[in-house]
């Protein structure tokens, strides 16, 4: 029992798997982005090198900051992401879960934003404070859409609040995306995820040329390494969650493996395409977009799901 | 094209003196008390744009030369103000009339020690946080490098 849990959390689908896959997918992201921009892009082990280099560097802690908060924030965020990836991963690969885990995941993902805010704001830097404010506003924007789109598979599967039940439903009745409501929800989910991962066009909190990386501005060395790792781990957590909710999970035998990889790559590439073809939006237009366009649309998807379309 | 120059001289001829007329350029000297009137006429009536102003040291004292460009004709009007008191040079500021003159007057005040009377914001422009000293009364001291 304990060994099993330790295996889940440390090796697969937890720490090691998420971190390594995340760093590799981070490379895919950088490479594909580079190709978009007629560049060659970094070598394969670039993100690993970045990570270990940062570990070897000096960590500077702001004198007037709240030290314990500043240090623990990235580590807590790291822990939360691993937990989420374990929850998504065990449901996806081992068909294990517990009732209402989807709500737990939703709230745990909020913790990530909270930690970004605490880490940034505890440094006492003015840019970080603005970045923290933007992070929370962005969370307000995307959270509503995210809730609504997760409701669609829940409703379709007959109000099951368990990831494995939703998967089971999709094994029986086909993927959620095949329905109209599922499709709308999937598209909106991609956009909401873009915002949750603070990727362009929603990299508003970390806006490099405005806020000098925002909340991460004061981080250096090992702590920055963890933030970067966290960012790349989200490349694993969110696509897997989307696959689980909308694309019917994985069948890991025979051709299923190829399909699994394709599904995953599809989502990653879609994310990268959105990322590379849009300028950063303003925070108020982002809120506007989420509240006045995305939310009603997502709500339409929910109504359609209730009506069984 | 010449009309502009002639109109100007017709209207302001009594306020200016020592004018030098070149192709497309008109340099002339203005006294302190007439400066505002001339600048007002150039900026408001003729629609000239203030290109910049140049301060320099001449025999008689410090000279401030404004450059007004009449864009439609390519004509330049350059009113000259000469301050004979080199120790404590002062002249009226045209920044209240022409907003674009604010920076250049600050810069001249900072480097040449000229007091622009009536300037809306008399503080140094380029040496504000300079470690080696700033301030209007204490112009930045230079070291001559060979």
């Amino acid at each position: 029992m304990i060994a099993e849990y330790l295996f889940f959390i440390l090796i697969f689908p937890g720490l090691l798997f998420t971190a390594v896959l995340g760093l590799i997918v981070g490379w895919v992201d950088r490479k594909v982005s580079a190709r978009f921009q007629f560049r060659v892009g970094p070598p394969f082990f670039q993100n690993f090198n970045d990570f270990f280099k940062l570990l070897g560097k000096e960590t500077i802690i702001v004198k007037d900051s709240i030290h314990y908060m500043f240090i623990t924030a990235p580590l807590i965020a790291f822990g939360m992401l691993v937990i989420v990836s374990v929850m998504v991963g065990t449901a996806l690969f081992y068909n294990q879960g517990f009732g209402g885990d989807i709500i737990v995941i939703m709230y745990l993902l909020m913790v990530y934003s909270v930690m970004v805010i605490f880490g940034g704001a505890s440094s006492g830097n003015v840019y970080s404070s603005i970045g923290a404010g933007r992070e929370i506003k962005l969370l307000l924007g995307d959270e509503l859409v995210f809730i609504l789109i997760t409701l669609v598979p829940i409703i379709q599967s007959g109000y099951q609040l368990q990831l494995t039940e939703i998967l089971q439903f999709q094994f029986m009745n086909g993927a959620v995306i095949a329905s109209l409501s599922g499709f709308i929800a999937f598209v909106l989910g991609l956009i909401a995820i873009q915002a949750k991962m603070t990727l362009p066009p929603f990299h508003i909190p970390e806006a490099e040329t405005e806020l000098v990386e925002g909340p991460l501005m004061e981080y250096s060395g090992g702590l920055l390494a963890f933030w970067k790792l966290n960012h790349f781990m989200m490349y694993v957590v969110f696509p897997l969650l989307l696959i689980l909710l909308f694309l019917g999970g994985f069948h890991l035998q025979g051709l299923g493996i190829l399909w699994a990889v394709l599904k995953y790559l599809l989502i990653v590439v879609l994310i990268i395409i959105i990322k590379n073809t849009n300028p950063r939006v303003r925070i108020d237009s982002a809120l506007n977009f989420f509240w006045k366009y995305a939310t009603p649309l997502a709500f339409v998807a929910v109504i359609l799901a209730v009506l069984g379309v | 094209m010449h009309n502009i120059k002639e109109t100007f001289i017709q209207n302001m001829g009594d306020k200016i003196h020592d004018s030098i007329d070149k192709k497309l350029r008109l340099y002339f000297e203005v006294d302190n008390q007439n400066l505002h009137e001339v600048v007002d006429y150039l900026f408001k009536e003729l629609g000239c744009r203030l290109s910049t102003a140049t301060a320099m040291e001449v025999y008689r004292g410090l000279e401030v030369l404004y450059h007004f460009s009449h864009d439609d004709s390519g004509q330049y009007f350059c009113p000259r103000v000469v301050m004979t008191n080199k120790d404590n040079p002062a002249m009226p500021s045209i920044a209240p009339l022409v907003k674009g003159a604010e920076w250049i007057e600050r810069e001249m005040a900072e480097y040449w020690g000229i007091t622009f009377e009536g300037h809306p914001r008399p503080e140094p422009l380029l040496t504000k946080e300079h470690p080696k000293g700033e301030g209007l009364d204490q112009p930045f001291r230079i070291r001559r490098m060979s």
Partner: protein, 604 residues
């Protein structure tokens, strides 16, 4: 002994309150503390003994079922902890009155909870409203009289409705009893509905539910912070939701539509109050609006008709009392150290008041429903219960219920947002120059908040083992509903342990490779300065200025949605009309008499 438990638990604090009137302040403190500890012991006795109904003149007067005992125990726990906080640091001018009112309030609240007779219930209910008014009068701000009046009118006015509701219920009910447990009314007649609405209004006014909530933020702002933590944040919540729970379980039998309406009111409470909370600049007002907003979850849970949600609602009620008093008290500590509760003036206090910061953080994370704290568990139960309920409904009701549910979940994101603002504005960000010398707060303050924070964590991680098993499961069982069942269980302990493993690994990696240097803030080469800062309070200016919220906020700031203001305007308009009808001309009065007589004759 056991026979007197009911009387003791009311009379001991009441007697202490009376004695306190003439004693010196220090002895008042000791006596109050001892009385409340004794009350805690008594409530434990009640829990163990479960005594029978107490009769006077053959009328049942006091009784205790699981719900009452549960409420009673938490009244004692909360009042002891808040008393610990109040022992030191209270303003000298109000100290004397405070320690009289405090045990008295506890006595009345205890009375409400264990009353079996309607009249007795009403009497205690009304008296607890009066102590609330007196507490409000203790405030030191300029708006205090206004606030006290408003509180009194809303809460006292709702008492009148409660009275009318009870009278109606007495009439509708077949027998001529005034016993609460004997009455069970189904909502099939018009008068029954009226009675239901009247009682609901009283419950809402006490708990602070929409639209009777407006006194809560003002009370929180103007009254002493201890009383804000004591009454609107804890005891009044317990009483209001206690009454609501009574209504939906024993007093009335309600159908789906009523359930839906209550849930809708709950969702509206959540969302309106939290939207108002987001834009507040005053820390106490912000907390006050949250005290309202959280009531929405309880109303949704208790009123939904789903067993799981009902249990969740009750659980949320105690959780709320815990974390909200924690938040009020931490803000109180900050306020006593910095002499300000205006968020604009604070900032960076996490550096100088780390313990208070951690306590406030735990409270904030609990209220925002972050796992593994207690707020999450009860919200999770409510959501699950509501979704279970939704699955049983028809499509139209499903969408209705889903809208409420979405509003509630989104409300919790908004709660998180406004608490980020709160935490940022008070504890994070830049420390103003004049607060550099602030020191950590006194021992009893952080002992009290520490106890509450501990409860937050324990109730979060051991939710099933402690509060659910000990208190809530018996209540549910008592109602004869199915045993509390989960479709599956979220295991907070496991998650926390696994999280700790990962956290420790991260920590280890960081500590092994660490190479730490301390330096100033990086501002593009500029030196840090006090003026380089942004205020957390201004985070939501974009939301504030976005249509349609702008119009709503503008209207709300003109108190357009305030029942009290509306009522006041209406009353003034009516009296103005009446004044116009009384010009003082004799002929006119004669005419009135004539018309009156004519109508009278015509009616007869």
């Amino acid at each position: 002994m056991a026979d007197n438990l009911y009387l003791l638990i009311i009379l001991v604090p009441f007697f202490i309150a009376l004695v306190n009137l003439i004693l010196p302040v220090n002895i008042r403190k000791i006596l109050t503390f001892l009385a409340l500890l004794y009350g805690l012991y008594l409530s434990y006795q009640l829990y163990v003994v479960q005594p029978a109904t107490e009769n006077f003149y053959f009328e049942p007067v006091f009784a205790a079922d699981q719900l009452s005992i549960f409420t009673l125990i938490f009244i004692q726990i909360l009042s002891v902890i808040i008393l610990i906080f109040s022992l030191k640091g209270l303003e000298k001018q109000i100290e004397r009155a405070f320690f009289v009112l405090y045990p008295m309030t506890v006595a009345f609240c205890n009375g409400v909870v264990i009353s079996e007779n309607m009249i007795v219930f009403l009497a205690f209910w009304g008296m607890s409203g009066i102590t609330l008014y007196l507490f409000a009068l203790l405030g030191r701000t300029a708006d205090t009289p206004q606030t006290a009046k408003k509180t009194f009118i809303i809460v006292g006015g709702s008492d009148a409705f409660l009275l009318m509701g009870f009278v109606l219920m007495g009439f509708i009910h077949a027998g001529n009893e005034w016993s609460l447990s004997a009455i069970h009314i189904s909502l099939n007649s018009g008068w029954a509905i009226v009675a239901f609405i009247f009682v609901l209004m009283a419950a809402f006014a006490k708990a602070g539910g929409f639209p009777m909530h407006t006194w809560v933020p003002q009370f929180s702002k103007d009254a002493p912070v201890e009383s804000a933590a004591f009454l609107p944040a804890s005891l009044d919540k317990l009483l209001g939701i206690y009454l609501l729970a009574r209504m939906v379980t024993t007093l009335f039998s309600i159908d789906l539509l009523v359930n839906m309406i209550i849930v809708t009111l709950g969702a509206l409470t959540v969302i309106t109050a939290v939207m108002m909370a987001m834009i507040q600049h005053n820390g106490r007002k912000l907390l006050g609006y949250h005290a309202v907003s959280q009531v929405g979850y309880m109303i949704m849970g208790v009123g939904s008709g789903s067993v799981l949600a009902f249990a969740g609602g009750l659980f949320h009620m105690i959780n709320h009392t815990i974390y909200k008093s924690n938040l009020f008290l931490t803000l109180g500590s900050v306020e006593k150290k910095t002499q300000s509760n205006n968020l604009d003036d604070l900032g960076g206090l996490g550096r100088v008041m780390p313990i208070t910061f951690i306590m406030a953080l735990i409270g904030a994370l609990s209220i925002s429903g972050i796992p593994p704290f207690n707020g999450f568990f009860s919200k999770w139960m409510i959501y699950q219960g509501l979704l279970q309920k939704t699955a049983e409904l028809t499509a139209g009701y499903q969408i209705w219920m889903l809208v409420c549910l979405i509003l509630a979940i989104f409300g919790s994101a908004l709660t998180l947002a406004s608490f980020m603002k709160f935490i940022h504005a008070v504890f994070l960000g830049q420390l103003p120059e004049n607060l550099k010398t602030v020191k950590e707060t006194v021992f009893n303050h952080w002992l009290a908040t520490g106890l509450l924070s501990l409860l937050c964590i324990v109730f979060g991680i051991f939710a099933v083992q402690i509060p659910l098993r000990l208190f809530i499961a018996p209540i549910v069982a008592e109602q004869g509903w199915a045993v509390l069942g989960f479709p599956g269980l979220y295991k907070p302990l496991l998650i926390v342990l696994l999280f700790l493993v990962i956290f420790l690994i991260g920590w280890l990696v960081f500590m092994l490779t660490r190479n730490i240097r301390y330096d100033d803030v990086y501002l593009g080469g500029m030196s840090p300065s006090e003026k380089f800062r942004v205020l957390g309070t201004e985070f939501y200016n974009e939301v504030r200025s976005m249509q349609p919220f702008k119009a709503l906020y503008d209207a709300a700031e003109k108190r357009f949605f305030d029942v009290y203001e509306l009522g006041k305007n209406l009353t003034f308009a009516l009296s103005g009309l009446l004044q116009k009808l009384h010009p003082g001309q004799l002929q006119l009065y004669l005419l009135y008499i004539l018309i009156g007589t004519l109508i009278f004759i015509w009616v007869i």
